[in-house]
Each structure stands twice: as structure tokens, then as C-alpha cells.
């Protein structure tokens, strides 16, 4: 009898802890809900406009799951970009995830079965939110997992919803694709303010504009990305010497 009581108390404590973690994760994920709902739906609508149905938006969002690159991918899917251009763009655009992952080497490695899911669901937003957690141990890992899982579902759900809404309501959505531009500008400003060394950003702008003038809008991305990263390697090497 006594033993059972102890068991019950233990169980109650455990579920309360789980509910607490769930609630904390949900609250932490609210800013992400806001931006993913808007951007995800815009993504779904744009996919639909490009002739790519809602289930492709859903599938891409669950698998590729990187907001900024998915927007660029719409143009690649509907246009005639070469697989090489797509691969190089994916490599360079998403390389920042590698550096995000470095931040969480220890955390994710202590999360057992959840580790590879955490790796897969690393985005600009989950990185930013999970960086601000101050808790430790299972409370920290549980919250991180809830934030990651919810964000993934918000994004995929919003993308599918956008595709369906775009199909049902023939709203004139001309100009909504600007939300991708706006997203990149805000990230650009955040990155600009984080560092005193503005040469990389200015190099990217200068080379991008120059390549656009030389190669034109459909093929300038590949040379821009390659020359920019090559130049940074040279600058980085010189600064070290």
C-alpha cells in the first residue's frame, strides 16, 4: 500500500514535470509560431502559384526544412536551374546550419534518441530560441525538443495550409513573394549589427551586383556564391598571417 502511494506520487511528479516542460516549450515557441505561420503560408501560396501543389509544399517542408532556401528552391523547381546550381546554393546557403550545430554539439549528443531529430530540425529560429534557454538537464533538453518539434509542425502545417488556401481562394497575391526578400533583409541587418567587420557583407553585396550585371538574373547566383566564398577564404587567410 505504502509502496504504491510512493509510486503514485512519483508518477504525479513526473507527469507534472512533463506538462511543465511542454508548457515552457510551447511558450518559448510562440514567436516562431507567429513568423512560421505567416512565412509558411506565403511559401505554400507561392508554391501553388508556381504550379506545385500543397502536398509538395508539405513534403519539402518536412524534409528540406530550411525556410530561406525553400523560397529560393521554388524558383529552381519551376525554372530550369541546373542540379549543380541547386547543390551549390544549398551548400552555401545552408552552411550556416553547420555553425549552428556546433553550438549544440554537447546538448544534442546528450539527448539520446532525440539527437538526430534535433539535428534535422535546426533552423535560424530554433537556434535563436534554444540559445536563450537557461535551464539545465532534462528540463533543458525536454524544452529544446518541444520547441524543435512544434516549430517543425508549425512550418509544415502552414506550408500545406498555404497551398490549400492558395488553391481555394483566387486572391490576387501579387507581391506576397516579397516576404522572402524582407526575411533576408532582416537577417542581413541582424548579422550586420552583430559584427564590426562589415567587409564580408559588403563583399557579398558588391560581388552580387557585379555578377548580376555581367551574367544576368538567371545565372548570376552560382558565380556570385563561389567568388564570394573564395574571396572570404583568401581574406581570412591573410588576416591570420
Amino acid at each position: 500500500m505504502n509502496e504504491r502511494k510512493v509510486d503514485n506520487a512519483h508518477l504525479k511528479n513526473k507527469t507534472a514535470g512533463k506538462a511543465g516542460i511542454l508548457r515552457e516549450g510551447f511558450i518559448k515557441s510562440l514567436p516562431i509560431l507567429c513568423s512560421y505561420l505567416f512565412l509558411g503560408m506565403a511559401y505554400g501560396i507561392l508554391m501553388e502559384e508556381a504550379g506545385l501543389p500543397w502536398f509538395l509544399s508539405l513534403f519539402t517542408s518536412l524534409t528540406v526544412y530550411t525556410g530561406a532556401f525553400q523560397f529560393v528552391l521554388i524558383g529552381f523547381m519551376s525554372g530550369g536551374a541546373s542540379l549543380l546550381t541547386i547543390a551549390v546554393t544549398a551548400l552555401l546557403m545552408n552552411s550556416r546550419q553547420t555553425f549552428y550545430a556546433l553550438t549544440f554539439l554537447k546538448d544534442f549528443s546528450s539527448m539520446g534518441k532525440r539527437k538526430w531529430f534535433m539535428v534535422h530540425t535546426l533552423t535560424d529560429e530554433t537556434y535563436a530560441v534554444n540559445c536563450t534557454l537557461e535551464t539545465k538537464g532534462e528540463r533543458r533538453y525536454g524544452t529544446m525538443f518541444v520547441v524543435a518539434l512544434l516549430s517543425w509542425l508549425y512550418w509544415a502545417g502552414a506550408a500545406a495550409l498555404g497551398g490549400i488556401v492558395g488553391q481555394l481562394i483566387p486572391y490576387d497575391t501579387t507581391g506576397i513573394d516579397f516576404c522572402m526578400t524582407a526575411l533576408f533583409i532582416t537577417i542581413f541587418i541582424e548579422q550586420w549589427e552583430k559584427t564590426k567587420n562589415h567587409r564580408p557583407a559588403l563583399a557579398g553585396l558588391g560581388i552580387g551586383i557585379l555578377m548580376l550585371c555581367i551574367f544576368g538574373p538567371s545565372t548570376f547566383m552560382l558565380p556570385s556564391l563561389l567568388i564570394t566564398s573564395g574571396l572570404l577564404l583568401v581574406i581570412g587567410g591573410k588576416e591570420a598571417a
Binding site: F178, A182, P217
Partner: protein, 106 residues
């Protein structure tokens, strides 16, 4: 359709590999080489700059219609973001302005 599936698979493979790379390379105490760390600190800002140019490429090809609308909206994003530093608000305001401007500069 096959091409699109191939593109999705390729993108998934590359993106997942990039996210998983540190977990495969730096198991235990092995440290990141210095040049890679420097590249990592500079690359994101530069790539984002190229992407901003990519997004605003219509300023060159269609300056009187989409170009001007996007330039005005881009200025709105910069001002709103500098003012409030709220990503959602900046994106929402910029997109709304762009949609309105594209109906003005037809």
C-alpha cells in the same frame, strides 16, 4: 515530377549533411580548424548579402514596376527593423507595402 523529387532529395541530403557535419567531425575533443572558424564567422553575412541581391534582381530587369515597388518596400523593412527589431513586424510591414506599391506602379 521526377525532376522535382530529385531536387527535393538532393536538397534534403545536402541540408541534413550540413547540419550533421559537426557531429561526425568533432566527436570527442577534436577542435575545429581556425580557418574554418574564421570562414564560419564571415560566410553567413556575405551569403545573405548575395541573397538580398538575388531577391532584388527585378530592380534591374523591371525597374519601373516591380523594381520600384520592391525598393520602396525594402526601405520600409530596413526602417521598421532598425526601429523595432521585430522580425515578424518588419516582414509583415514590408510585404504589405510591396503588395500595395505593385498595385500603384502598374
Amino acid at each position: 515530377m521526377e525532376r522535382i523529387l530529385l531536387i527535393i532529395l538532393l536538397s534534403t541530403a545536402i541540408t541534413f549533411s550540413l547540419r550533421a557535419l559537426p557531429f561526425l567531425l568533432f566527436r570527442g575533443e577534436r577542435k575545429m580548424p581556425e580557418w574554418l572558424e574564421r570562414l564560419g564567422s564571415m560566410l553567413p553575412a556575405a551569403i545573405m548579402a548575395v541573397l538580398v541581391v538575388y531577391c532584388l534582381k527585378d530592380v534591374r530587369t523591371d525597374p519601373a514596376h516591380k523594381g520600384i515597388a520592391e525598393l520602396i518596400a525594402a526601405a520600409v523593412v530596413v526602417i521598421v527593423h532598425k526601429w523595432k527589431h521585430n522580425t515578424f513586424l518588419s516582414i509583415f510591414a514590408g510585404t504589405a507595402v510591396c503588395m500595395i506599391m505593385m498595385r500603384i506602379f502598374v
